[in-house]
């Protein structure tokens, strides 16, 4: 009897904790979601409605329509982030392999060079990067975003992959060496398949990093929609239509949907990647 009571108590405070944390983490999102379903114009009506009396999809029509075409920005973001993820995984796992597994005289120096870059605030590199991208003729192109974002991922990505490689058993690799496998195929056919879970974590983080990148995306797009990614597009909408919060909210909801779904599906790997960065320092 006492045991049953204790268990029930545990459930009660557990549910209490979940409710309080949900209120903190989700209330702002709930507000945006209901605003997006209000008939445009009624979002300013008082008293404030916490459950819209008339659910309307009008804002979604507007935000997907010819005036905004949020789907373009979402597509751009997907192209940029996918390309960055692939590029960063390749570059970072090669360098991480050198650092974690190969005999190399300048390991410490390399590691310092890589980690120092991770401390650089983006504001320090933005102006020359803008000039550089302009001189490469890549302003307002997705390539102008992809290349720098791969580089921006190098410090944390190399770190994560090196930590992962360092934890892998060495016997398969030794066997491959003895058999005379050339180094690249050892890397590609022996190490990479073993490192798949680590690659996955690092990949999700690289994707999310470039998905949210704003300063460069703003600077490179020059205010025109061709190469706008989601963050720039949403900011531009919200500044141009400051009083149309139902429209802006619909845009926010649509642009968040894909990443939130992705993060929830890959939750385990996200948490692994983030904690590896903090714990295995």
């Amino acid at each position: 009897m006492r045991l049953l009571g204790k268990k029930r108590l545990q459930w009660v405070y557990s549910i209490g904790l979940v409710l309080v944390i949900s209120l903190f983490c989700l209330a702002p999102l709930y507000w945006i979601v209901i605003t997006s379903f209000k008939t445009p114009g009624t979002e300013f009506r008082k008293p404030v409605e916490y459950w819209p009396s008339d659910l309307s999809l009008e804002s979604y029509g507007v935000i997907l329509g010819p005036q905004f075409r949020i789907q373009n920005a979402i597509k751009n973001s997907f192209i940029v982030s996918s390309a960055v993820t692939l590029g960063a995984l390749l570059v970072n796992s090669l360098s991480a392999y050198t650092i974690a597994r190969l005999r190399f005289k300048y390991k410490i120096e390399s590691l310092i060079l890589i980690q120092l870059a991770g401390m650089v605030p983006p504001i320090v590199t933005i102006a020359p990067t803008f000039v550089l991208i302009r001189s490469m003729g890549l302003l307002q192109t997705l390539w102008g975003l992809i290349l720098p974002n791969i580089a921006y991922n190098i410090p944390i990505g190399t770190w994560l992959m090196a930590a992962y490689f360092a934890g892998l058993p060495t016997d398969l690799e030794d066997a491959a060496k003895v058999d005379g496998y050339p180094p690249f195929s050892t890397f590609w056919r022996v190490i990479m398949p073993l490192a798949a879970p680590g690659l996955f974590s690092a990949g999700v983080l690289a994707f999310m990093g470039s998905w949210g990148e704003f300063m460069l995306a703003l600077t490179i797009s020059l205010g025109l929609p061709d190469a706008q990614t989601v963050p720039v597009a949403i900011l531009t909408f919200s500044q141009r239509h400051e009083l149309q919060w139902a429209w802006v909210s619909a845009g926010i909801v649509l642009s968040l949907l894909p990443v939130i779904v992705m993060v929830l599906i890959f939750q385990k790997w996200v948490i692994k990647g983030l904690t590896a960065g903090a714990v295995k320092y």
């Binding site: 979940v18 090669l94 650089v120 320090v124 000039v131 998905w211 949210g212 996200v270």
Partner: protein, 300 residues
């Protein structure tokens, strides 16, 4: 046959690390060098420093002499200290909650905590602008309905409130990632230690300070390092939420430098601002790393 791959190993190592070095050189080290050069010239509406007047350290002198620099430095520091403090305690509370709830709710709770992390900072800025709307915003309305205030405050127009509003919006997102970092540390605290203390009659608060905190100290320090570094260079949330306003009240070093670059088109002064931010971040990181080192040796 066995020797050949070994002989080539250093060469292969170099080959493998070269792509990363090229990336770093082009998008980190070259731009840093260029920014240093920019900061020594008077670059009014031009980036052509070779034909611009060399002014030595005058840009830095101008920056240090301006009142605005000290104000934005002050807010950068307030912003970082307050937000890291809040993120840490909220994040730790949420992380501990995931271990305190019944196992069946653990996954749900983690999923809820991770969601704010997934939202790009600039999109949060747009969200919070609406949440802080004076007439019909969620925050103001809730405050009025609960009777805490008589009329909704001007969150983003009142100079003092604007600072708090920016900090809170930033904390909302970053508490999420802080919490995930700390979960990693807490997961490594062995249950039997806290259980033993429980049997010995140690109160929850004592168990927390005497057992949990010392055990996760390395994770705490690394988390604080990452979070402080991130806060010192915050840009998106300020650019999107207040644009540095009202006036220049919520301007931080990064947002101010960005204005010098792309609004006033004064690359020389902007570069000086940016480099001062850099020095600040570096100095703090090194200080921290020095502090962390003994704990790291302990771990390995």
């Amino acid at each position: 046959m066995r020797l050949r791959p070994n002989l080539r190993e250093p060469a292969v190592a170099l080959l493998f690390i070269i792509p990363a070095f090229i990336g770093l050189a082009v998008f980190f080290y070259y731009p840093i060098g260029q920014t240093v050069i920019f900061s020594l010239f008077d670059l009014d509406h031009t980036t052509d420093w070779m034909n611009a007047p060399f002014v030595g350290l005058n840009n830095y002198a101008d920056v240090i002499r301006s009142r605005q620099f000290w104000l934005s430095l002050r807010f950068t520091l307030i912003f970082s200290i307050v937000s890291v403090f809040l993120q840490f305690w909220i994040g730790l509370a949420m992380a501990m909650a995931t271990f305190a709830v019944v196992p069946r709710l653990r996954g749900v709770l983690r999923a809820i905590i991770i969601i704010p992390w997934a939202i790009p900072q600039i999109i949060q800025a747009a969200m919070w602008k609406w949440l802080y709307n004076t007439d019909v915003g969620l925050i103001g309305d809730v405050l009025v309905r609960t009777g805490l205030v008589d009329s909704p405050p001007l969150f983003l127009a009142d100079p003092r409130l604007a600072m708090g509003a920016v900090i809170f919006a930033y904390v909302w997102k970053t508490a999420s990632v802080t919490s995930i970092f700390l979960m990693g540390g807490l997961a490594m605290v062995p249950d039997h230690l806290t259980d033993a203390a429980k049997v010995d009659g140690a109160r929850a608060w004592m168990r927390f300070w005497r057992i949990t905190v010392p055990l996760i100290m390395p994770t705490i320090l690394v988390t604080l390092l990452f979070r402080t570094r991130d806060a010192l260079r915050a840009f998106d949330i300020i650019y999107g939420l207040t644009g540095g306003g009202p006036g220049t009240q919520t301007e931080v070093l990064s947002s101010f430098a960005y204005k010098f670059y792309f609004t006033f088109v004064e690359y020389g002064l902007g570069s000086a601002y940016a480099l001062i931010t850099f020095v600040l971040v570096m100095a703090l990181s090194l200080l921290y790393l020095k502090r962390i080192q003994p704990h790291l040796r302990f771990r390995s």
